[in-house]
């Protein structure tokens, strides 16, 4: 943000007086710290910021933010936040949710908030497990996952959260990782600047029930080979040229994303095997969600070829602004006081008078 930071807030201003009670080592701590450090950048007074959450470990988040906040009920945060945001367009409303909260019990509210393009910033902490209820599989757990509720392995196919959001035509879709503060904050920044729904999936480690779920994306030895860092306007290339790639057993490690001939969607190829002009240049503003959808389909459940960054950021009027505009248009035609208008309304239609 280029404007001067007139409010001069710091991360400390966004810390509430409540003791943080996540398990030691939980990825949520890193996200909380990153968000608190990022918040001053918004240059929005704390009183105009609201965090709304549902139920789950991640949903304790509002208690730790020194802003307005509501820890609501399981899955319903997007619905509650919608009512708040639509009726109070002056507020910056953030939803913090998890994979169970947003994609299982609250799946309906999530997709409808996204299709309406409500002016909400939705942070989905995805740890691929139910943590607060102590370790059942979640709607993002891989098939075959062995948990307390699936002793011989889960038979459920998981959701790809970004594919789902894009299917709902979300206008802003991004992904980041709890442990990469700089990247996390860059995605938050882009989300905050977006008018309308911004959906951000944050890979978050649950060190108690699903430890190491995203290790390949974090370990120095593998991350550069697994991660595709999306940069708007840049060719999509990843892995280091001239270095052996852990994914392909020592061959030259640079890869790129191309449109496969004759097919649809996107594919990963060795950079050396394609002409430079074949490499896709990332454009987050493509209006057809099919492009970002194809990006969201690149990784397998083994996390190879995982894009992070802003997949999609397109302009569409928010639901909030459309609703407020209708009210403003109706109000603009009125010159009477509310009481006079009410008297007129009550006495409208066929009336008769008895003397």
């Amino acid at each position: 943000m280029s404007e001067p930071l007139a409010l001069k807030l710091t991360a400390k201003d966004f810390k509430s007086d409540q003791e943080v009670r996540w398990c030691p080592g939980c990825g949520d701590y890193a996200i909380l710290a990153a968000v608190q450090q990022f918040m001053p950048e918004l240059n929005i007074p704390r009183e105009n910021i609201v965090f709304v959450s549902g139920i789950g470990c991640s949903s304790r988040f509002p208690y730790y933010m020194n802003t307005y906040g509501m820890h609501s009920i399981h899955g319903r945060a997007p619905a509650i936040a919608t009512g708040l945001s639509v009726s109070r367009p002056d507020l910056s409303v953030w939803v913090v949710t998890g994979d169970g909260d947003a994609l299982s019990i609250g799946g309906n509210h999530l997709i409808h908030a996204l299709r309406r393009n409500v002016n909400l910033k939705i942070l989905l902490f995805n740890n691929r497990i139910y943590g607060l209820t102590k370790g059942q599989y979640s709607p993002t757990s891989e098939v075959g996952k062995i948990t307390k509720s699936t002793p011989v392995g889960s038979a459920d196919a998981p959701f790809n959260p970004l594919s789902l959001a894009l299917g709902a035509e979300a206008t802003f879709v991004g992904r980041t990782i709890d442990s990469d503060r700089k990247h996390l904050q860059s995605v938050l920044r882009a989300a905050a600047e977006h008018e309308g729904s911004a959906f951000v999936e944050i890979y978050q480690n649950c060190n108690i029930f699903n430890d190491g779920a995203f290790d390949q994306l974090k370990e120095p030895g593998t991350r550069d080979d697994y991660l595709i860092r999306l940069e708007h306007g840049q060719p999509i290339i990843f892995g280091a040229a001239g270095k052996p790639n852990s994914q392909v057993g020592g061959r030259d490690g640079q890869f790129c994303v191309v449109h496969p001939p004759g097919g649809f969607g996107l594919e990963v190829r060795e950079t050396a095997s394609v002409r430079p002009e074949e490499i896709v240049v990332h454009d987050a503003t493509v209006s057809d969600p099919a492009y970002a959808f194809a990006l969201s389909r690149l990784p397998g459940l083994d996390l190879r070829n995982t894009p992070i960054g802003v997949f999609r950021s397109v302009d569409r009027p928010s639901y909030d602004s459309a609703v407020q505009e209708q009210v403003a248009t109706a109000k603009a035609k009125v010159s009477e006081t509310p009481e006079q208008q009410l008297a007129g309304l009550l006495g409208s239609g066929d009336t008769w008078t008895i003397l």
Binding site: R88, E339, L346, G349
Partner: protein
């Protein structure tokens, strides 16, 4: 020929036809004309849930009953004096309700072999003596309408569809109704198609003129205006009155009204009506489901709006968890339940009062809310204001229990003076309330109302977090302390229990009644009419009606104990009776019907007479 004019004090007419015949519209127009004349009126629409059930069948019959009189009336009438039957199904479905001697106007064009067979008539009832006890007026409604429109540039289908206006014209003539408002209505309704205005007006006039000239109708009737309080009136349904009450609550509180709703019969009309009033700052959101509807309303309340959600029983069940959250958050929220016959989908267009238990108890944990019920269509306006007053003053969810009978029924409404409506202004918290002058305690209560401060986002210095987890008294911090939980549960209960509500009033004009009839909600009219009937026959009976079901009036126990017998008629299996017996240890007797229809005054009168005999 000169027609005889006969004076009547009251008439009940039922228009019945196929659900595509426009009977609701016909009844509505007749009611409006009648209101213009100054009669007291009460109406009862009765229609199937199917938009177009198979034509000509019994399930497809739609009817509209209007009762009008030269005195104040309380119900749409038990039995019609006149039935307009647009087809054999309409005759068959309604005949049992007619007393002997009633007039039946039938559309003979529809009494063909096929239509008769559809409803199981072997022989046309017009041709045998099965209608001997009635005064039957066979009228070729369809063909006369088509004939009257021969010169009009409308299709045969459109001409046939105007037959309801022919019927309306005939009835308007019979009962000497002023018809100017109907002509104006037709001009508005078909403004985009002038040929239809002309056709429908011509059909109406043809019906009127038919009455004037045919020898079959030798008598015209007049019902003089009723003596009503001076003022300006309009005819209004319960759903419309409730909507206006919510708009009024917004104006009188100075808060924007936010309605979150999901379409559901019979509550959808409130969503439709409120969506028209954006100039008042009313926001309506058709949510993705019932849960989102109440969630959005609660979110709006958190932000400083008057959050409202409107639904019927199945929707209340879905909203239950969010209502509990509102109980914990202690924020204003109005939940309107327009009750219909249940369980499950039940009979969506039929009435019932079986959600009282749901409203009082239908939540997890100790989650008390205020519950109120309107007693008549026009009363829905005041009930909505009262619900908003309680919600805003005491920062609590309030469930308003309307039902299909009051929601779709109508009656004249004496328009209130806006300035006389309750002042609902609220004060948001603006400054820290802690003793140190800097701390904000979101759960520090007003000692009088036990309400906590309403500190809306955007207020500097009052940033705080609330949620569904149990909160410590005053600070609102998460607390698992046993004593604190016990205290908070009891405080939330006391908060509702101590809301001051007006004492219940007893109507006992003779002053010596030994039996009290206690009702709630929409049974007010039939109970009142039954009591009147008994009193006219020299019997003493007392009537009291509950508007506030939670909390109940402080004097209720004393009132109940003053009578030898308490009778509670309800359109459920005794839900209020159960509460009264448990709460006041009074041996109340229930009288219960769940037929999807309101009580008739006659059945209540018969029942109460039996009770009086045995006291």
């Amino acid at each position: 020929m000169t027609k005889q004019i006969r004076q009547l004090d009251r008439v009940v007419i039922r228009f019945a036809g196929d659900s595509g015949d426009g009977m609701q519209l016909t009844g509505d127009r007749f009611t409006s004309e009648t209101a213009q004349l100054g009669n007291d009126i009460s109406t009862l629409p009765n229609f199937p849930a199917e938009i177009r059930a198979p034509a000509g069948t019994l399930p497809g019959v739609s009817s509209f009953q209007v009762h009008f009189a030269d005195y104040d009336i309380l119900t749409p009438g038990d039995a019609p004096n006149v039935l307009v039957a647009m087809n054999p199904a309409a005759l068959k479905a309604n005949l049992a309700d007619l007393p002997r001697g009633a007039d039946i106007i039938v559309n003979t064009d529809e009494f063909n072999k096929r239509n008769l067979a559809k409803v199981g008539y072997q022989v046309s009832p017009l041709d045998d003596d099965s209608l001997a006890g009635y005064v039957v007026h066979p009228v070729a409604l369809t063909s006369m309408t088509v004939g009257a429109l021969a010169a009009h540039e409308v299709s045969k289908k459109d001409a046939e569809r105007a037959k309801n206006m022919f019927a309306l014209g005939l009835l308007s003539w019979m009962y000497s109704r002023p018809y100017e408002s109907t002509l104006r209505f037709l001009e508005r309704k078909f403004a985009a198609r002038p040929e239809l205005v002309a056709a429908n007006v011509a059909a109406f006039r043809a019906g009127w003129n038919f009455g004037e000239t045919t020898e079959d109708f030798s008598v015209r009737y007049e019902v003089k205006p009723a003596k009503m309080l001076p003022g300006t009136y309009r005819n209004i349904t319960g759903n419309a009155a409730l909507s206006l009450g919510l708009v009024a609550a917004g104006v009188r509180s100075g808060l924007p009204v936010f309605l979150g709703a999901y379409p559901i019969t019979p509550a959808s009309d409130i969503l439709h009506e409120l969506s028209k009033h954006k100039k008042f700052g009313v926001i309506t959101m058709q949510a993705e489901d019932e849960i989102a509807a109440v969630g959005a309303a609660l979110g709006a309340s958190y932000g400083g709006s008057l959050g409202v959600t409107t639904t019927s029983g199945p929707g209340v069940a879905l909203k239950s968890e969010t209502i509990s959250l509102a109980v914990a958050l202690e924020l204003p929220l109005v939940i309107v339940d327009v009750q219909r016959a249940g369980p499950s989908t039940g009979m969506p267009t039929k009435t019932e009062q079986a959600d009282l238990n749901l409203a009082l108890y239908g939540r997890h944990g100790e989650a008390p809310v205020a519950v109120i019920a309107p007693k008549s269509p026009a009363d829905c306006f005041h009930a909505a204001l009262e619900a908003a007053r309680i919600a805003l003053t005491y920062r609590t969810p309030v469930i308003l229990l309307s039902d299909n009978y009051v929601a779709n029924g109508s009656e004249p409404w004496l328009l209130p003076d806006v300035e006389s409506l309750p002042d609902l202004r609220v004060e948001f918290a603006t400054a820290p309330n802690g003793e140190d002058g800097t701390t904000f305690l979101p759960y520090l209560r007003d000692p009088e109302t036990l309400a906590r401060p309403w500190a809306i986002p955007g207020t500097p210095g009052l940033e705080h977090r609330i949620g569904g987890l149990e909160k410590a008294d005053k600070t609102g911090d998460i607390s698992y302390d046993p004593a604190n939980h016990d205290f908070m549960v009891r405080t939330r209960a006391a908060r509702i229990e101590t809301i001051p509500v007006p004492d219940i009033e007893v109507e006992d004009p003779d002053g010596d009644a030994r039996v009290l009839v206690l009702g709630w909600g929409s049974t007010y009219g039939p109970i009142g009419a039954a009591c009147r009937g008994l009193r006219q026959r020299g019997l003493s009976i007392a009537q009291a009606h509950l508007r506030h079901l939670a909390p109940m009036p402080a004097n209720l126990g004393e009132v109940l104990r003053a009578y030898d017998r308490v009778v509670i008629p309800e359109m459920n299996l005794g839900q209020l009776a159960h509460v009264i017996r448990a709460k006041y240890l009074v041996d109340a007797i229930g009288y219960n019907q769940v037929r999807g229809l309101p009580f008739t005054a006659a059945e209540l009168e018969t029942m109460l007479e039996e009770v009086l005999k045995n006291v």
